[in-house]
Amino acid sequence: MTLNNSRSAPLSCAEFQEQLPDLFAAGGNSSIEDPQIAEHLKSCENCSALVRDLQYIADQAKQLLKPTHEPSDNVWKKIQEGLAADPSYAAGPGES
């Protein structure tokens, strides 16, 4: 990721953190190409901890894909009722 300016002054924490949504969308740490961003990340302990935490949260979120909740038996009963009342049920499922 490249920052859209040509300054060579070091980034402030606020300026660095403004770049984070795009930085993460571009692939996180591994996608940093801008030397100003890379330098700030290297030298600022606080921003570097923030990036690590946000990356950790994104990684941990994947474990939530595994389901934990079970619908009540009533849901299947209602689906069966819905199918029985659907005229297309007898003719088989639709194509469109």
Binding site: I57, V75, I79, S96
Partner: protein, 219 residues
């Protein structure tokens, strides 16, 4: 019925979704039989996917009764549309996309703004994540279990939660979310970032007293 943002013919899957949704044993056969109108096969597909569909609905809606109603709708819709599934993406990805769009349509009917412009531009003091310009603290890494994360996600403001669940949990891309939520890609990225910042804040608050002890020791 044509769902908003979801042509019911198959769309190209986001990279990685096949990897995250590997085929389930016996699923392909059940799909083919269900396409031919076999009620028993449809029952099998329900048994295979009910928990993930229901969990997705529950996370998006935060309400058991509505989540059960939408699970029912999703499977009824699945039966009507299963003939259009061609196997070009994982079946579960296709089913989840169908479910997400049904839930979003339901929320729109209720008059809910899915991505709050207000929340994006001018977040309320209570809901907005705190900027992190100066303070140092211990890291989250290794300290967050699934239960704590699930609880923190449930506590997110609805707009943040929606984008976080769609992107970080379900694996949709920002451009897909932008279409689904009728917002810009930039808005989706921004909402996701704010959601993660808010989660970090919630998770830190829920951590054991170790951090407090460290802070006190530093005074």
């Amino acid at each position: 019925m044509e769902l908003q943002g979801l042509p019911m013919t198959e769309t190209k899957t986001a990279p990685g979704l096949f990897k995250r949704n590997p085929p389930i044993a016996g699923e392909a056969e059940a799909i083919e039989r269900a396409k031919a109108g076999d009620a028993e096969a449809f029952s099998k597909l329900y048994a295979l996917h009910k928990r993930r569909v229901y969990t997705l609905c529950l996370r998006m809606l935060g309400n058991v009764s509505e989540a059960e109603d939408m699970t029912q709708e999703a499977f009824l819709h699945l039966f009507r549309k299963i003939g259009s599934f061609r196997g070009e993406s994982a079946f579960s990805t296709w089913l989840h996309r169908l479910t997400v769009n049904l839930v979003l349509m339901h929320l729109r009917k209720k008059g809910l703004q899915l991505v709050s412009l207000e929340e994006t531009i001018n977040p309320s003091e209570e809901d907005s994540p705190k900027r992190d310009f100066g303070s140092r603290d211990t890291q989250l890494a290794g300290s967050v279990d699934r239960v704590a994360l699930e609880r923190a996600v449930a506590a997110l403001p609805p707009g943040y939660r929606m984008v976080f669940v769609l992107h970080d949990v379900e694996g949709f891309e920002h451009n897909e979310i932008a279409v689904m939520l009728e917002c810009s890609t930039g808005n989706s990225k921004s909402q996701l970032h704010k959601a993660r910042l808010k989660l970090r804040e919630l998770l830190r608050e829920s951590e054991p007293t170790a951090q407090t002890d460290l802070k006190e020791a530093a005074l």
